[in-house]
Structures are given as structure tokens and as C-alpha cells.
């Protein structure tokens, strides 16, 4: 099975080489995405088979490549299988979408060679079983995605985005290299099997955790290492944005889980506190940034940051619980995190596809120039609505289930012995609730301003519904959102082997009686049944509709909007994205963004319009990154003088070095 999976990877790599050969031919797009689709679907099926196998025994395989004396080790266990499902599902959807979307691509020769390679790299990371192959695939993944980000290198800002991205990615890789340097020791025992057996000291474990958090976190977009994400993800073609946001960040999460839960050994309780707190802050910062954003794709990218935060909250709780030997609770938290991994990859891909459809239809990413698209592209609008509802954690969709599970895990925190955790976790719960509510607000804004209301520009007025392939991809994902929300029990049972492997326990399997109810701990404690809710709501809605149809008058008249008596035909009078987020900006922005608003009122009698200036500052960027860049620039400037010395000065350097070393030698002897 593992061999077959590697076969899919090889197929993808061949495809990317073939793409170079095909260059700009007409059939290239269809051929490459077709191959990618087949390979991903095959990989998906294989991974599913591995995950749902009755007795999942890890399959291993070693190839004579990579580090010579070590070879490349590959391993397929429950964890890898689950993430492979996520990755290949996203890959398949993106390829299907690309079949249609790719036709509008202006420079296919800059996308096609790297797209399959990107998929292949992500698959390789998930099956790698030694430090070298892992980091090799990891950095290769960064490199290929960087190339995809640079596909539209002429558009302003994209080159800078790519630059920041590859730099941050390499920073992450460096951190991971150091982490593995610690784990492997200087004898170079790089394969995971050897690392598992070694038991690191507490200090070393802490260092590894910090490095893993920095390394995997920078790729996943954990605050404050997230700065590249909202720039790079939107810069790529939309289906690649979907892959980067929906899948690559999950691969990063996999890296974190693999190191902290599997390789480094028993965790300490404060690891959980650190990770969960980071997650909470990440979630709120991400969603607040998203609320301030008018660029549809960048808004989605910031929401990726938020959801990564939610996932890390779950992981942190899992660490805390398993550090205190509470396997059941740890399993709950971990399951919540992993289920959210799956859910987010589904609805985030869906949303990016929708954004891509809007982009191809209008050529606009700026919401302030969109609006009323629900009339022009109803299908896309509906599917995007489903995605919005799912990401806003509204029942009966899947986003709610995983966040509900996370809450259930948080509610178990009082059982934790450490007082810090006792006090911290409720606060994190508040952060989680806050971010969930803000996410809902943000997607009311995103959907409302983009699709509802009246068109704000000519392009929006003339938008056309997108093509079949794209709609097909979106529909599949939307259906998954509903299914995973209504029948979560199936998915959670599929996660049981992963939780079992990593925490030594898993959620209670569903028992036939209470129709697919999910029960985190005990029936009396809490339970949720998406199916029943769905049925009840459908029943109630149908009942209402029937009653209305039966008793109420069916008359309906179209008329101009009332609008308190003075409607204004100009679409400029609508609420814009900026004005929608103004109350929240007032409430939170003043602290987080040092937001300042100035209104220029024209002098009495002057005819020009009043102007509102909103000024937001990214405090993290100003406090962390700007100084670092300044320091490097300063050092570069000062050292640069050395390039312009006279030969005599250079000779003096040599002479100085000689004399200094001689003096050292004289003293040393």
C-alpha cells in the first residue's frame, strides 16, 4: 500500500517533468490536471484504506536514496494515513477545480510544472520516516509552493510576498533542522525509529518543543510567525491558494504533531499551556486581521491563521492532558484538533475556490468593488454560503462539531492539577468563543458585501457564472461540509486509531441505539446529534412553509426598497466592508491595531465630500520584523565599507591577523 502511494508520488513528479516538456501547449492544462486528479484520487483511496483498515499496522519501506548510509525511510501509520486523506482530498479537489480554472491562467507554463510537484512534496512529508527525507520533502514543498506564488510575478507585491514567504519558510526549516539535530544527536541517528527509542532530557525536550513550534508554526501561520501567510497565499492562483491554506498548513500541523506527540517522548504540562495559549492568541489575532481586510482572498488567508489557532488550542490541551495521564481527555482534545484539521481543509478549499470563481468572473479581489453577485452567479453564491456557515461554526455544518468538541475538551480542564492551567484554559475558552463569534461576523461581511446587496462596479454587474469543473469541485466540498456536520460520528470513529496511537485512548465508539450521537465522555455530561438537529430544523422549516402556504396569503409585489422612506438608487449608499467592520474596529482595533480614524469635513458651503481616513498598524510587524530588517541593513551598510578600502588597508588586515594569531600562540605556549 505504501509502495502504491509512493507510486502516485512518482506519477506526480513525472507529470511535473512532463509539464516542462509540454510548456505552453493547449492540452497541457487538461493533461497535467487530469494526471494530478487521478494520482490524488488514487492516493486518497489508498490512504482511506490504510486509515479504515481493521488492524492498522504501520507499513514501512526504505529506498536507497537520500542520505547514503541511511537511505530514505518511509512509514505509513494511522497519523500519516489521516493526513494523507486530508492532503489528497484537497489535492483532488484542487486538480478538478484546476481543470476548469486553469484555462483562464495567463502563464500556465509557470504553474503546471510546479503544481504536481507541490502535491508530491506534501505527500512525501507525510510518509517520511527519517529526519533527512522529512526535511528534504518539507523544504521541497516550500520551494515548489514558492514557485507557484511567483507564477504571477509581474503583479505588484507578489515578488515581495514570495520573498518573505521563502525566507520565513527557510527560517522554519532551520528551526526544524536544529530540532532534529537535538533529537538525532551528533552521531547522526536520523531515522525516526532510532529517535523514538532515545529519551531526551527535560531541557532538551523543551528546546525541541520550542523549535518545533517555531518551525512548524511558521509554516502553519502561528502568530507571530504568520506575517508571510496573508501575503503569499492570495498571491498564488486560487486553486494553489486553496492547497496552501487548506492542505499545506495541515502538513505543518502534521509535522508539529509528529514531533511533539510521537518523537520527543513524554510531554510536560507547561508545554500544553504554551501551545494552547499560542493557539488562542493566534485565533483571535487572525480573525481580527481578517475583519479589517477588504481583499477577499487575503481575508480568507487570515481566517486560515485563525483556524490554525483553534487547532493548536486543541493540540495544546491534548499535550496538557496527556502530561497529566488523562488519556480520555487527551484523546478528546486531539480528536477535536484533528477533526478541525479535516474540516478546515474542506471548507477553506471551498471558500478559496469560490473566491477564485469570483476572481475569474470579475477580475476583482477587492470586496468594495463587488456586490450583488448572488444574482449573477447563484450557484457559486450558494456554495460559498455553505462554506461561510461551516467556517463560522454554525450547526448543522462540520465547523461547529469540531469547535464543540474543542469546547468539551476545555470544559474538562478543571480536572487538571496545575493551577496555571486551571486559570489559563477558561481564558483560552473565552478567546475561542470570541474568535468563533468574530468569525461569524467576518463571514457575514465577506458573503454579504461580495454576493449580496447591489453591484458596486461594472465588472460585478456583468459577472458570469463559473465553469462546470469548478462548480463540481466546490459542490463536492460543500456536500462534505454538510455530511461531516450531520454525521460526525463516522469521521470521529475514523479518527479513533490516530487518537489511540498518540494518546493511548479514543472517544467512545458510537453504539447503534442513539442514532449517530457523538458522546465525548459520557451521555449525561454532553452529547450532540447533528442528524437529529438537521432533521428537526428541516421538519420545522417545512412545517412553517406548509402552514404559511396553507393559511397565509401568497401574494407578493416587487417594489423599490423602502429604506425608511428615502431610498437612494446609487449603490454607493450601501454598507461597505469598511463600514461593516467599523463597530468592531472601534471596539477591538484601537488596542490591537492602534486604529485611528480621521474625518475631513469640508468647510461649510464647500461642495466636496467629507473623507474618512482609517489608519491601521500591524503592531507585531512593527515590533518584530521591522527592527530585524533594520539590524541586518545596518550591519550590511557598515560592513560594506570593507569593500572600498585601499590595498594597504587590506594588507594591514592580513598583517593584523598574522600578528594577532602569533600573539595568541605566544601566550598559549
Amino acid at each position: 500500500m505504501l509502495a502504491a502511494l509512493l507510486g502516485c508520488v512518482a506519477l506526480l513528479l513525472v507529470a511535473s517533468v512532463g509539464a516542462i516538456a509540454l510548456a505552453d501547449r493547449r492540452l497541457a492544462t487538461t493533461a497535467i490536471y487530469g494526471v494530478a486528479l487521478t494520482a490524488s484520487v488514487a492516493g486518497l483511496l489508498l490512504a482511506l484504506a490504510a486509515l479504515l483498515a481493521p488492524a492498522p499496522v504501520p507499513a514501512t519501506l526504505a529506498l536507497p536514496i537520500g542520505l547514503p548510509w541511511l537511505g530514505a525511510h518511509f512509514r505509513l501509520d494511522a497519523l500519516s494515513a489521516f493526513f494523507l486523506v486530508v492532503a489528497n482530498l484537497g489535492g483532488a479537489a484542487a486538480s478538478l477545480y484546476g481543470l476548469g480554472y486553469g484555462r483562464h491562467e495567463e502563464a500556465p507554463a509557470r504553474v503546471l510544472p510546479f503544481f504536481p510537484a507541490f502535491l508530491a512534496a506534501m505527500n512525501l512529508v507525510l510518509v517520511a520516516d527519517d529526519a533527512f527525507s522529512f526535511l528534504f520533502s518539507w523544504e521541497f514543498m516550500s520551494l515548489t509552493s514558492w514557485a507557484l506564488v511567483m507564477a504571477h510575478h509581474r503583479r505588484s507585491g507578489n515578488a515581495a510576498a514570495g520573498y518573505l514567504y521563502l525566507l520565513m519558510a527557510s527560517f522554519g526549516t532551520l528551526a526544524l533542522i536544529l530540532a532534529f539535530g537535538l533529537l538525532a544527536g551528533w552521531s547522526g541517528a536520523y531515522d525516526f525509529a532510532a529517535i523514538r527509542t532515545a529519551s531526551p532530557s527535560a531541557l532538551m525536550g523543551a528546546a525541541v518543543l520550542a523549535l518545533a513550534l517555531a518551525g512548524a508554526g511558521s509554516k502553519a501561520g502561528v502568530v507571530p510567525l504568520h506575517v508571510w501567510l496573508p501575503l503569499a497565499h492570495p498571491a498564488a492562483p486560487s486553486h494553489v491558494s486553496a492547497l496552501m491554506s487548506g492542505v499545506m498548513t495541515k502538513v505543518a500541523v502534521y509535522g508539529f504533531v509528529r514531533i511533539t506527540f510521537d518523537l520527543v517522548g513524554a510531554p510536560l504540562w507547561w508545554w500544553g499551556a504554551l501551545v494552547a495559549l499560542t493557539g488562542g492568541i493566534t485565533a483571535v489575532m487572525g480573525v481580527l486581521h481578517a475583519l479589517m481586510e477588504h481583499d477577499l482572498k487575503r481575508l480568507l488567508a487570515y481566517h486560515t491563521v485563525e483556524n490554525i489557532g483553534i487547532i493548536f488550542i486543541g493540540l495544546g490541551l491534548a499535550l496538557a492532558f496527556s502530561a497529566n495521564e488523562m488519556p480520555a481527555a487527551a484523546a478528546l482534545a486531539l480528536t477535536a484538533a484533528l477533526f478541525h484539521v479535516f474540516n478546515h481543509s474542506v471548507f477553506k478549499s471551498l471558500l478559496f475556490f469560490g473566491a477564485g470563481a469570483v476572481l475569474t468572473a470579475t477580475g476583482e479581489r477587492d470586496m468594495e468593488r463587488l456586490g450583488g453577485l448572488i444574482h449573477r452567479m447563484p450557484r457559486t453564491a450558494f456554495l460559498f454560503l455553505v462554506g461561510s456557515a461551516a467556517i463560522s461554526a454554525l450547526p448543522p455544518f462540520n465547523g461547529f462539531v469540531s469547535e464543540w468538541l474543542t469546547f468539551q475538551a476545555i470544559l474538562l480542564s478543571p480536572a487538571l492539577p496545575q493551577w496555571l492551567l486551571k486559570f489559563l484554559v477558561p481564558a483560552i475558552g473565552a478567546l475561542l468563543a470570541l474568535s468563533a463569534a468574530l468569525a461569524a461576523a467576518c463571514f457575514v461581511k465577506a458573503f454579504g458585501v461580495t454576493f449580496l446587496g447591489r453591484a458596486r462596479s461594472q465588472v460585478a454587474r456583468e459577472a458570469r457564472e463559473t465553469d462546470r469543473c469548478s462548480l463540481g469541485a466546490m459542490f463536492t466540498l460543500a456536500a462534505l461540509c454538510l455530511v461531516a456536520g450531520v454525521l460526525p460520528a463516522w469521521f470521529i470513529d475514523a479518527l479513533a486509531p490516530v487518537a489511540q496511537a498518540l494518546t493511548g485512548s479514543h472517544l467512545p465508539e458510537r453504539h447503534g441505539l442513539d442514532w449517530l450521537t457523538i458522546v465525548p465522555i459520557a451521555q449525561s455530561r454532553s452529547s450532540y446529534n447533528g442528524l437529529l438537529l438537521f432533521v428537526l430544523i428541516a421538519f420545522a422549516a417545512a412545517l412553517a412553509a406548509a402552514a404559511i402556504h396553507r393559511f397565509a396569503s401568497g401574494r407578493l409585489r416587487r417594489a423599490p426598497a423602502w429604506d425608511c422612506g428615502f431610498p437612494d438608487p446609487s449603490p454607493a449608499t450601501q454598507y461597505t466592508a469598511g463600514s461593516f467592520s467599523q463597530p468592531i474596529r472601534r471596539v477591538f482595533g484601537t488596542v490591537v491595531f492602534r486604529a485611528r480614524e480621521e474625518v475631513e469635513m469640508p468647510a461649510p458651503g464647500a461642495t466636496q465630500s467629507a473623507r474618512l481616513h482609517v489608519q491601521l498598524r500591524d503592531v507585531l510587524w512593527d515590533t518584530l520584523y521591522v527592527p530585524a530588517a533594520r539590524a541586518v541593513a545596518l550591519a550590511a551598510d557598515h560592513l560594506n565599507a570593507v569593500q572600498f578600502l585601499t590595498i594597504r588597508a587590506y594588507l594591514t588586515l592580513v598583517f593584523g591577523a598574522l600578528v594577532a594569531l602569533l600573539a595568541v600562540l605566544a601566550i598559549w605556549q
Binding site: P426, A440, L452, Q523, S524, A541, R558, A561, D563
Partner: protein
């Protein structure tokens, strides 16, 4: 047999909340009028309003989309289901396990989501004002609500309303500071969620102050009727939530016979009356606050909720 009874109770409650909701609103209006020395509308006025709305034709804005017409049904349905899952007069509802209190809050959130979208759909400025303010308020109200839930589940070891009610009935819980704090926080949240004074004024149509009314400005006829019903249901839901959590006395459980149900229903209606009276008094007593003060108001609720949880740790640790 037991199942049949439970099912019956559940269906009874479905009907009961639907019937009682307008009455509660009418009661509050009547009492408020009396308190300010007016005659006030008759108690059954809400029913009449609904009936009239149902009879009228719908005037639909030209720019309205299918979402604008679908929203009322979904809003009504979700709110109704939510209301039907809160134990009113009897615990152990047959569908109770389908959703704990978090899920119920989320259901209301779904209704709000649809309503806010509907507010934006026509593309008028007032709809926008309503939606954006509503979502801002909600973004603060939900964390506060969840802190209350956290406190309760800490006490009762459950987020299942029936179990919470049962747990709080038991004597060993007793009176606690954190319970009081949680109650205050919950009431504040309820006021905000139901667009009551001081957060919003259900009676006003003064453009700059309205939140909930602004969103439904473009609705008319049967659609408006559905949305109004939904808001009545929401008020009822919060009242019964507070009642069943903090005043769980007289709740019938499946163990007792039919007679118990009858008495429980009477007790429940009495609770509603009391709550309505309290609300009316409160609303007449204080004034509405500016929109941007709301954040402080709900922030306070959030702090109270958090405080309640932390105090509980202290008291339990001792």
C-alpha cells in the same frame, strides 16, 4: 410507553413554546405601559399582529435575492427548535441529548447569521447598520454566554440542560457567589441577545439607535410574521433557560406521573409571568445606552462570567 410519553412531552413543548411566546411579549408590553401609566395594548395584541401580517401581501424590494425570501423560514425553524430543546416545565426531553446548551447557543447564532445576511441583502444603508451592529454585539455576547456555561458545567459537571437543572436542584450546591455572578452575566447577555433596553429598543424606529429593527426593515407580510415569531420565541427561550438553570424548582421529570406535568406547567407559567414583570420593571427603570457603550456592558458580562468560573475554582479547592 415511557418513550411515547416522553415523545408526547416533547411535542407538547414544541407546541407550548409556540403558543406562549407571543403571550410573554404581550405581557411585557402591557406591563410596561401600565408602569408608565398608559393603558397599553391588549394582552393578545401580538397574536392579532401576526394574524394580520399573515394576511397581508409581501412587498419585496427589487434588489432582494432568493436568500432574502428563504431566510425567514430558516430563522424561524432554528429558533423554534432551539426553544423546544430548553426544558420548560419538564426535564428529560426525548430530543434533549441532540443538543447541549452550547449547541443551543450555536443554533441561535445560526439564526442571527441568516438574519444579518438578510439585512445586507437588499443593499440599503439601514440594513447594513443593523447587521454590523448586531454582529458586533453578538461577538461580545457569545463569549460571555460561554463563560456562564463554563461556570454551570463546572458545578453540574455537564453541559446538558436537563442534567444541569437536576444538579442545581440538589441541596449540596446551595447558594454560591459565582452562581449569582453567572446569573447576572446571563441576564445581561439575554438582554443583549433579545434587543432589549439598554442595548436596543424593540419599540423604536429611530434610525440611528435601532439594531434589530434595522435589519428587518425591508420585511413585510408573512416573512415579517415569521421573523417576529422567531424573536418572541427567542425571548421565551432565554427566560426559560434562566428559569430552568437558576430556578429549577417544580420541574417535572419523567419519573413522576402526568399530574406532576400539569403542576409543573402551572409553575412554569408563573415563572414566565414573574420574568415578564421583572423585565418590564427593569426596562422602564433604565434608559437605552449608546451603541458603543454596549461593548463595555457586554465586556462587563464577560468579566463576570470569567470571575464566576475562577471564584468557583477557589471555593472548590477549599
Amino acid at each position: 410507553m415511557a418513550i411515547a410519553l416522553a415523545l408526547g412531552v416533547q411535542l407538547l413543548q414544541l407546541a407550548l413554546v409556540l403558543v406562549l411566546a407571543p403571550l410573554l411579549t404581550g405581557l411585557v408590553r402591557k406591563l410596561k405601559a401600565h408602569l408608565v401609566g398608559r393603558q397599553g395594548p391588549p394582552l393578545l395584541q401580538p397574536y392579532r399582529d401576526l394574524a394580520r401580517l399573515l394576511r397581508k401581501e409581501v412587498v419585496l424590494a427589487e434588489s432582494a435575492s432568493w436568500l432574502f425570501r428563504a431566510a425567514p423560514y430558516l430563522i424561524f425553524a432554528t429558533t423554534w427548535v432551539a426553544a423546544a430543546l430548553v426544558p420548560t416545565f419538564a426535564t428529560g426531553l426525548v430530543f434533549g441529548y441532540a443538543a447541549d446548551v452550547i449547541a443551543i447557543v450555536a443554533l441561535l447564532g445560526a439564526a442571527r447569521f441568516m438574519l444579518a445576511l438578510a439585512g445586507l441583502d437588499v443593499g440599503t444603508s439601514f440594513g447594513g447598520i443593523g447587521s454590523s451592529r448586531e454582529m458586533m454585539i453578538a461577538s461580545l455576547a457569545e463569549p460571555a454566554m460561554l463563560m456562564v456555561v463554563f461556570t454551570l458545567s463546572l458545578l453540574a459537571g455537564s453541559t446538558q440542560l436537563s442534567s444541569i437543572a437536576a444538579a442545581l436542584q440538589s441541596p449540596e450546591v446551595g447558594l454560591r457567589v459565582s452562581l449569582a455572578l453567572a446569573l447576572v452575566a446571563l441576564i445581561m447577555v439575554a438582554l443583549a441577545e433579545n434587543a432589549r433596553i439598554p442595548v436596543d429598543n424593540p419599540a423604536t424606529h429611530l434610525e440611528l439607535t435601532m439594531v434589530h429593527e434595522a435589519m428587518i426593515l425591508e420585511y413585510s407580510g408573512r416573512h415579517l410574521a415569521l421573523i417576529e415569531t422567531a424573536s418572541y420565541l427567542k425571548l421565551l427561550l432565554y427566560v426559560s433557560l434562566i428559569a430552568c438553570v437558576f430556578f429549577p424548582w417544580g420541574l417535572a421529570s419523567a419519573a413522576q406521573g402526568g399530574g406532576a406535568y400539569l403542576s409543573a406547567a402551572v409553575v412554569y407559567i408563573a415563572k414566565l409571568g414573574a420574568a415578564g414583570f421583572a423585565l418590564a420593571v427593569f426596562e422602564t427603570a433604565i434608559a437605552k445606552m449608546r451603541v458603543f457603550r454596549v461593548s463595555d456592558f457586554l465586556g462587563a458580562a464577560l468579566m463576570l462570567g470569567l470571575l464566576a468560573a475562577l471564584l468557583l475554582f477557589v471555593t472548590q479547592a477549599t
